[in-house]
């Protein structure tokens, strides 16, 4: 076992103890294996001003005293193999930031650990600890043992180099909670962040995007470009999508709206865009469940079963007339305790007890009404009492505490 810091910039000798040059990089095959095998090293031959590639099978031993080849210098003549799977560790990994998937955070690579796995010298682990930092500086004193080693396995990291678009760690990455991925994206610089987003499938990217801070959302959208953004945004929930579109400059917003697929209910999106951000109309989501007063309880529960996956949370079913006028609500509790055959109109609460709010009412009025009537969500109606959407408690909270 040896570390990257042991061998980098060390001399490379051949079997006659002649110096070939200085080791400048170690190359691994960056496939999905747990321990990527070392393919070879880059050697700088200063005397002849050339960079040489030495494949692993010509290397006899690795140590901090230098690298010894099992052949003569004259036998080294390899060009760098042309293979996109190759990863130059010095250029692309060491000192760069990577994502530690086990801790869901961005860390800096201090050192690398190598060892023999099934007869092949391979990259064992990535050292992100402070003791790795001291090793790089050539300081190796016993008192430094107070710093615990922190070795990450290859399968537990996600690379974020600007030019690399490797699938490594992607499967593990999408296992994280979208909010954790969002935190990681926020930590990265814009290029790396958008690369990471691009590496995710659209549905996951959309969920992650929803969790990112508005300021950074805006930058990412601009960086990703209209087309790619629209792809991701089309998978976002309508109210998150509207929030995001409202952040963008008018011209860009229009471009993205035009690029969104038709199946997204653009009518609804445009409707919400007519309102200010702190008005009921701007805060509301148009995704809610509605039933008719003449429906049975059985049918109402069936509606929840078939549509619940589309909604973040369901507190009420909204009772509307045939022409979509807001009549009242049925709480989930009422539904559960009612008989299957009962009619919605018999168990609903009427608007007198659960009033709706007008689309132009301000945040403070909404909050007041929700507090007064103990509502987790409230219906938004226009002046003809036509139901437009609902404002939920999390929309209100997000508006009150944007930083959270």
């Amino acid at each position: 076992m040896f570390y990257f810091s042991n061998v980098i910039h060390k001399r490379v000798h051949d079997t006659n103890d002649e110096v070939l040059g200085i080791l400048t990089d170690v190359i691994v095959e960056a496939n999905k294996k747990n321990f990527p095998p070392v393919i070879g090293i880059m050697v700088k031959d200063k005397a002849n001003k050339r960079d040489l590639f030495v494949p692993t099978n010509q290397i006899d031993s690795w140590s901090s005293d230098g690298i010894v080849l099992n052949c003569l210098n004259s036998q080294v003549l390899e060009e760098v193999p042309n293979n996109s799977e190759l990863l130059f560790l010095h250029d692309n990994i060491v000192d760069k930031q990577i994502v530690d998937l086990s801790g869901a955070k961005v860390v800096r690579v201090n050192d690398l650990q190598f060892g023999v796995v099934r007869g092949t010298t391979s990259l064992l682990a990535i050292d992100v600890s402070t003791s790795g930092l001291f090793r790089r500086l050539g300081i190796n004193k016993p008192f430094l043992n107070i710093f615990k080693p922190n070795l990450l396995e290859w399968k537990n990291v996600h690379l974020i180099g600007d030019k690399l678009q490797l699938a490594i760690g992607k499967n593990e990455l999408i296992k994280l909670h979208p909010a954790d991925i969002a935190n990681i994206v926020e930590k990265l610089n814009l290029k790396q962040g958008s690369l990471l987003l691009k590496s995710l499938d659209e549905a996951t990217a959309a969920k992650v995007m929803e969790e990112i801070q508005p300021e950074i959302q805006k930058l990412l959208v601009q960086h990703l470009g209209v087309e790619r953004s629209a792809d991701i945004m089309s998978k976002m929930s309508t109210d998150e999508l509207v929030d995001l579109i409202q952040l963008l400059p008018a011209r860009e917003a229009r471009k993205i709206i035009n690029d969104l697929p038709i199946n997204k209910d653009m009518h609804r999106v445009k409707k919400i865009l007519e309102y200010e951000e702190d008005e009921a109309g701007g805060l509301m989501t148009t995704e809610y469940l509605s039933v008719l007063p003449g429906d049975t309880v059985k049918k109402a529960i069936e509606t929840i079963r078939t549509h619940s996956h589309l909604h973040r949370s369901i507190n009420f079913l909204y009772v509307v007339s045939e022409d979509n006028k807001f009549l009242g609500v049925v709480s989930l509790r009422r539904l559960v305790v009612a008989e299957d055959s009962e009619m919605v109109r018999d168990i609903m609460k009427h608007t007198a007890r659960v009033p709706g709010i007008r689309a132009h009412e301000k945040l403070s009025d909404i909050a007041e009404k929700m507090t007064k009537y103990n509502l987790f969500s409230v219906a938004v109606v226009d002046k003809e009492n036509i139901m437009l959407g609902v404002v939920t408690i999390d929309d209100v909270m997000r508006c009150l505490f944007p930083e959270a």
């Binding site: 690579v109 930092l133 814009l190 290029k191």
Partner: protein, 416 residues
């Protein structure tokens, strides 16, 4: 969406302050304890002889700050992290130690400023400095310093009294303007020492780190570049206008009457034409506020840069358990300087001046890192430096190095 909103003007002002900001803030924070004492000494001991240096470094300040902004906008990363990625661990350690020494010096100057301000009111430094250090530590460790920072920033507009004062001392503006463009040099250690301090307090190593992370934190990107460039140039211009008037104010009062500045009271005399008997209070207040602003910003900037470079958890949104080293650096960089200032009989004014010399002497190192990064196509793409930027920045670097060499040689022949 296009309808005119009632609160439009308010939005516009908010926008102005959200984008137009870093350059002016960084420039304003430049006029800290080290700044005010150095400019006062420049005027009081050497009259208007050094105005030409101030004129030249206005361009250097504008250019170097603009480079910091550009790197921040393009890479969206702090200077510490970039140095690490481009130069590796050893050079990073070198850069960070350089910055740490310069910053500890400046923080020492801030506490010396606080001590001097209170000594005007006959309050001992053994009270004022520990209390100030504890207040700074308490607010920073709670992580709620943004409001505090703004309050001190508003107060630091105090410097504008120097502009009014500058007119009241009835300077010879013709003579002063001529001095701006007439290079005058004395080959003496005090002159060179003061001159390097003048450069080092105007363009600072921490200023480079600060403006870059500020741009990154604000979530600005390259689209804001033009607005930012204007703002940075404006900031450099405004801050040096103020410096100009501080020098004028002391040059036409203290220099004329031959007063040597040995403590804050002497420097305060320069404000007498404007404030009369209140000059002491006015100067004391200004010095205190400026020092406190620096005492908040510098430990934070130091900890951010070091943690970013070495990959340690950082930021005020992290708790103590997560970011021990971050808070540790803040703690050390508040209390070591504060304790230094408490050494009995320490000449506070000299400390403030010498700390700026340390900044000036170390500045070329940081500037060279910045220049290497900004001329790297792999990092900056199409936004690498234009020749004019490189020429001015390299001229600054070489100018400081030559001045430092001259200082070393001349101090061999000079008895302090």
């Amino acid at each position: 969406m296009e309808e005119v909103k009632k609160n439009n003007w308010w939005l516009k002002i908010t926008f102005f302050f959200s984008v137009i900001g870093p350059g002016i803030i960084a420039a304003n924070a430049d006029n800290d304890a080290g700044g005010i004492s150095t400019y006062s000494i420049v005027g009081a001991h050497f009259g208007i002889k050094m105005l030409w240096v101030l004129f030249l470094i206005t361009f250097s300040l504008a250019i170097t700050q603009e480079m910091g902004v550009r790197i921040g906008l393009v890479t969206r990363q702090g200077l510490g992290g970039l140095i690490r990625e481009k130069f590796g661990v050893k050079w990073t350690l070198f850069a960070m130690v350089t910055m740490l020494i310069a910053n500890l010096g400046t923080i020492t100057a801030e506490f010396a400023g606080i001590a001097s301000a209170f000594e005007i009111g006959n309050i001992s430094k053994y009270w004022s400095v520990p209390i100030a250090a504890l207040v700074v530590w308490f607010i920073l460790s709670k992580g709620s310093f943004k409001t505090t920072q703004k309050i001190f920033l508003i107060f630091s507009a105090f410097y504008f009294v120097y502009i009014i004062n500058g007119f009241l001392v009835q300077p010879d503006f013709g003579e002063a303007t001529l001095a701006l463009i007439t290079p005058t040099l004395e080959w003496s250690a005090p002159f060179l020492l003061t001159m390097i301090a003048l450069i080092g307090t105007t363009i600072t190593p921490w200023g480079q780190f600060f403006i870059q992370s500020y741009v990154v934190d604000k979530g600005l990107n390259i689209k804001h570049y033009k607005a930012e460039k204007v703002e940075v140039f404006l900031g450099a211009f405004i801050t040096n206008i103020v410096s100009f008037f501080i020098i004028i104010s002391t040059a036409y009062t203290l220099y004329k009457t031959g007063v040597h500045i040995t403590d804050a009271k002497d420097a305060a005399l320069a404000l007498e034409p404007l404030a009369g008997h209140f000059s002491l209070i006015l100067f004391g207040f200004g010095l205190f506020v400026a020092s406190m602003l620096g005492a908040f910003i510098l430990p934070t900037a130091t900890a951010y840069a070091i943690c970013e470079a070495f990959g340690w958890e950082h930021g005020f949104n992290k708790g103590w358990d997560e970011a021990k080293i971050f808070y540790g650096i803040i703690f050390v960089s508040i209390f070591i300087p504060a304790i230094l200032v408490l050494i009995p009989g320490l000449p506070l004014i000299k400390v403030m001046l010498l700390s700026q010399d340390v900044n000036g002497i170390l500045l070329p190192i940081i500037l060279i890192f910045v220049l290497k990064i900004i001329n790297d196509k792999k990092i900056m793409g199409e936004h690498i430096n234009k020749p004019i930027g490189n020429i001015i920045a390299w001229a600054t670097v070489i100018g400081i190095i030559l001045a430092t060499v001259a200082l070393v040689i001349s101090s061999i022949f000079y008895q302090f």
